[in-house]
């Protein structure tokens, strides 16, 4: 068994905690499973597994209006499911959101169906002017925390993209 110096899931979790994230909506990805266990067992975080990413955008917006710091965990395949909500809810009103996205479909991807959205993820985020950050595990805690600060300061969603290499600890 290979022991990584920095567990990628733990680094993301610690970044969320440092940012004060206390509300999470999620649609799972196999690469998010450890992070979802950490979040699910944290009594300070309200966690809702939702049915669709777009629903999660709405739930997180409501939670933020009620004073919570909200994050949406999802796979990049779900980005296409929530573009309208990101634009006509979060960006229209100025609502912050931390998006933790497992970015599938890149180098080493075993599932062919992940490839199209894998390629389109960054262009889609760029097209709707959503800042995206791609940390390595060693920088993930800091980057996740900064992503929330940026979202809160600007009143808009910010995406942290975590690809297959990231989850392998590289």
């Amino acid at each position: 068994m290979i022991v990584c110096t920095m567990n990628p899931s733990l680094a993301v979790y610690q970044g969320m905690k440092r940012a004060g994230i206390d509300f999470v909506a999620s649609v799972p990805c196999v690469n998010l499973q450890e992070l979802l266990i950490l979040i699910g067992s944290d009594p300070e975080i309200i966690h809702l597994p939702v049915t669709r990413e777009e629903e999660g955008v709405g739930i997180c917006a409501g939670a933020w209006m009620g004073g919570r710091r909200a994050a949406l965990l999802m796979q990049n395949s779900g980005l296409g499911n929530c573009i309208n909500a990101l634009a006509s809810l979060d960006m229209l009103y100025g609502i912050p959101l931390l998006m933790i996205i497992s970015h599938r479909g890149g180098v080493g991807e075993p599932i062919v169906a992940q490839v199209p959205m894998g390629r389109l993820t960054v262009p889609l985020l760029d097209a709707i002017s959503i800042l995206h950050l791609e940390p390595q595990p060693a920088k993930a805690e800091e980057t996740v925390c900064e992503a929330w600060s940026s979202a809160a300061a600007d009143g808009r969603p910010v995406a942290v993209l975590l690809d297959l290499q990231f989850w392998r600890g590289k």
């Binding site: 669709r52 955008v57 209006m65 004073g67 229209l92």
Partner: protein
């Protein structure tokens, strides 16, 4: 009952209960704005389908505040997963009022599937929501609004009232709503 009558009853109940009120896209928000504007009203201008989701997140964030959502048949059909989420996670301070006029009322009254027999009351029950009430008349709605129930499925007539567009910017809607919706210790801080 006309939709604007149903909205007036819901708005009156929301005010009496000091409830935060999330209102659906299109004419329903305009009708609410014209019958009873309050800072505690959030007028959802885009993101069709997400009024109930916004309300659910808010109700979980502020369990001590009542949260009411005015939604429509077309919007609930667009986000049917919300009924499953509400069934499993909605706290007792959450109430969803579905105003079912069997059509997309803000876009020219094109029929929705509820006009052909799809039953939102039954869908809510089948999703696992225990406290669901179905109403047709204004008196029944007024009663249900004061009862402990999670979802009210209310049949309303097709047609929009002649009301103007909302004279508030999205930023103004959010800013004044957030002051009412956030806990007091956060209300002085902007966006944090």
């Amino acid at each position: 009952m006309k939709r604007i009558e149903a909205i007036a009853l819901a708005a009156e109940a929301a005010q009496a209960q000091s409830a935060l009120l999330i209102s659906n896209i299109g004419y329903p928000s305009r009708e609410l704005f014209s019958v009873r504007d309050r800072p505690e009203n959030f007028y959802m201008l885009g993101s069709m389908g997400l009024a109930s989701s916004i309300g659910l997140g808010l109700a979980l964030a502020r369990p001590e505040r009542k949260v009411m959502v005015l939604d429509g048949d077309g919007s609930v059909l667009m986000n049917l997963g919300t009924l499953a989420s509400i069934a499993n996670y909605a706290p007792e301070n959450f109430k969803l009022v579905i105003l079912d006029n069997c059509c997309y009322g803000s876009t020219g009254s094109q029929p929705t599937c509820t006009s052909l027999g799809t039953d939102l009351y039954a869908l809510a029950r089948a999703a696992g929501i225990e406290k669901v009430v179905q109403v047709d008349r204004a008196e029944e709605l007024a009663m249900a609004l004061t009862e402990e129930c999670t979802v009210i499925a209310a049949k309303v007539e097709e047609g929009n009232a002649a009301v103007p567009i909302i004279s508030l910017s999205p930023e103004e809607i959010l800013e004044r709503f957030k002051r009412c919706a956030q806990p007091a210790h956060l209300s002085g801080k902007s966006r944090l």
